[in-house]
């Protein structure tokens, strides 16, 4: 994985020192709250309902065992013994004290981490496919480009005061596991007819109050032009994006209002003047970054074949976990192992300090010391020998981390909601827990098949409800929590936005409503047909009929 050079380390160390002084001045009264707020936000410090919250960047979701162990230490020392993984592959600590945040940031800097640009109207953490470098369907490793973007975007003076926040995602596989089309800029790694590497660039995606899927801005952008082209997009956005209305400030609104053709004209005009300039990526620099993401020292091993098959046959629970939580690896004899943070009764994305430490140990023993964070609030061990999956599964079981539900009904994305967040209108976590409890029978979940349920506690849509097969949006109706249901959303390469299905359900009724949707689907699906495919075939009406029949 990428290691800081002297410039990275110095920049992060200097930032810690600056923030320490800013916090000191705030507590001493030398800075007003108005003056201090933008400074703390530039360092990932929010003020939530009960406490300050620190959002720590995990660049493109890649963590070393050393870093995970540090996060465990921070959770135990400065928080309440746990952390919360977010839909942007970051981690949040929900109970930090302002006066201790400089110490936390100093400890993070020791392991090449920081909280810069995890808030505010800046270029946020670039996210990527959690299977980067190991996916069997990958064209090229998205981490290379995400890291190049990170270096370019960090403290970029021209783009530190954008009209609104700005999120970029990169994927290198045929399948999109990074919800790329919901981002301000999305990059799909492609090869052109000549076999050269480049990107399909999509722009103007986003969820929130006015959701849009990103539209293709350029079918093929040569690799070397990555930064100059992104710069051109950002310059157009910085100039024409609205600053008068926060609800219309994201690039998605600009792209929608101008139309993609007009937007593309503006970008091309800007780019024509800069394309041959300093941002053109030199091959030597590309090679230097690429070298950081070289494959680990794999062993040349044969697929385990018979032995794994014997373990699978001997233990149906292991077989189930294999079916749902592992994926094909590019290297023969290896597997990708997913760790669900969605055990029944758990808070989606939460992990205790003890679990973090145990996982760091497991990653060192079984996965070359590397862990990935997924936008679905789970973790991935990217380099596990297939012959060691059984050992891993048993160890995960003792930690409460072997729930075999990746992509199933109880693998629910939920934002922190009104239990923590000052923006929320309704709670998300208890709804996720009640749905997971209702559908906890693993055989039933397996029979239902792939089903993505996503819950947001307010219109900002951190819980990705617009792209949930079943999406729930919490709203406040005269002091009561209600949940508006959308159906048919999807976050992958064939993404779609969900459709509001009808009047919202009360908190008491919403779990029944979800179950009714599931039962309706089971009643009408063709053999082997996934929920999303069935919904696309039959449309909303059969679900509406069942949901509102009594009304």
């Amino acid at each position: 994985m990428y290691r800081y050079d002297q410039f990275d380390q110095r920049l992060v160390d200097e930032r810690v020192a600056q923030f320490r002084d800013q916090v000191r001045r705030r507590i001493a009264g030398e800075l007003s709250d108005e003056e201090f707020k933008p400074l703390r936000l530039m360092n990932g410090v929010y003020l939530q309902l009960h406490s300050y919250m620190l959002r720590v960047a995990i660049p493109y979701g890649v963590l070393s065992a050393l870093q995970l162990r540090k996060l465990a230490h921070l959770a135990r020392t400065y928080d309440r013994g746990y952390g919360h993984f977010t839909t942007r592959q970051n981690i949040q600590f929900h109970w930090v004290r302002l006066e201790e945040t400089p110490d936390i940031l100093a400890e993070l800097a020791e392991v090449e981490m920081h909280a810069i640009q995890t808030s505010g109207n800046s270029l946020r953490n670039t996210t990527a496919d959690q299977y980067a470098g190991v996916a069997a369907d990958e064209i090229a490793d998205p981490r290379v480009y995400a890291e190049i973007i990170r270096q370019w975007a960090t403290l970029h003076p021209e783009f530190s005061f954008l009209p609104r926040k700005f999120k970029i995602a990169v994927t290198g596989g045929a399948r999109d596991r990074a919800a790329v089309k919901t981002h301000d800029i999305g990059l799909f790694i492609r090869r052109n007819a000549a076999g050269e590497l480049g990107f399909e660039v999509v722009v103007g995606g986003g969820q929130g109050r006015t959701p849009f899927l990103a539209k293709t801005l350029r079918k093929f952008l040569p690799e070397a032009d990555l930064l100059s082209y992104i710069e051109a997009i950002l310059r157009v956005y910085n100039e024409f994006g609205r600053r008068d209305n926060i609800y219309k400030a994201r690039i998605k609104i600009l792209v929608h209002e101008l139309g993609i053709e007009k937007f593309a004209e503006l970008v091309e005009a800007e780019w024509a003047a800069t394309r041959a300039g300093a941002l053109r990526l030199p091959e030597a620099e590309l090679a230097r970054i690429r070298a950081h993401f070289a494959s680990p020292p794999y062993e040349e091993i044969a697929p385990p074949g018979a032995s794994l098959e014997a373990e699978r046959r001997a233990d149906p629970a292991f077989a189930r976990w294999l079916r749902h939580n592992t994926a094909a690896h590019v290297k023969p004899g290896y597997a990708i192992a997913n760790i669900s943070l969605k055990a029944t009764g758990a808070v989606p994305g939460d992990i205790s300090a003890g679990q973090m430490e145990a996982l760091a140990d497991l990653a060192e023993r079984l996965s070359f010391g590397e862990i990935r964070v997924t936008h679905e609030q789970n973790l991935t061990l990217p380099y596990v020998k297939a012959s060691e999956l059984y050992t891993l599964w048993q160890a995960l079981g003792t930690l409460g981390l072997a729930t075999p539900n990746i992509g199933l009904a109880s693998d629910i994305i939920a934002c922190p909601g009104l239990d923590f967040c000052s923006l929320a209108n309704a709670r998300s976590i208890p709804i996720a827990q009640r749905i997971a409890e209702r559908l906890k029978d693993v055989e039933r979940q397996e029979a239902i098949g792939e089903l993505r349920i996503k819950i947001s506690g307010c219109i900002n849509a951190c819980g990705h409800h617009h792209v949930g097969h079943i999406g729930l949006l919490g709203v406040d109706k005269q002091g009561e929590e209600f949940y508006q249901m959308t159906l048919g959303g999807h976050a992958e390469e064939d993404a779609s936005l969900g459709t509001i299905i009808g009047p919202a359900f009360s908190s008491a009724d919403v779990v029944d409503a979800v179950e009714r949707v599931v039962e309706t689907y089971l009643g009408l699906r063709a053999p082997g047909e996934r929920f999303i495919d069935a919904y696309r075939r039959v449309g909303a009406q059969p679900f509406k009929d069942k949901l509102y029949a009594a009304h």
Partner: protein, 99 residues
């Protein structure tokens, strides 16, 4: 007139606090009550002085009601601020239901 108290977050640690007879308290039961618009504004003015002294940030008035002999916030958001999250975060235990 409904009963109101002033709440804010403490500057140094961000904890939810209420303006009481002797400074800010994490305990809502210790909050000073305002029973009139004038009393509420007077409390808020007092709170603003704490902002100037860098003790708290963002003070505002909330409505409280009596329930089972205890004062509780009228709105759910404020009840969650007063009582903490309704879920046992990080530990995987089942949620506590609140009305």
């Amino acid at each position: 007139m409904n009963l109101e108290v002033v709440t804010a977050n403490r500057l140094k640690d961000g904890r939810t606090v209420y303006l009481g007879e002797s400074g800010w308290s994490e305990n809502l039961e210790e909050a000073r009550l305002a029973g009139s618009a004038a009393a509420a504004q007077a409390l808020l003015a007092l709170a603003e002085r704490s902002v100037e002294r860098n003790e708290v940030v963002g003070p505002y008035l909330i409505e409280v009601i009596e329930e089972g002999g205890h004062l509780v916030p009228a709105r759910r958001r404020e009840r969650i601020r007063a009582e903490g999250p309704t879920v046992a975060a990080g530990s995987g235990r089942q949620s506590r239901e609140i009305v």
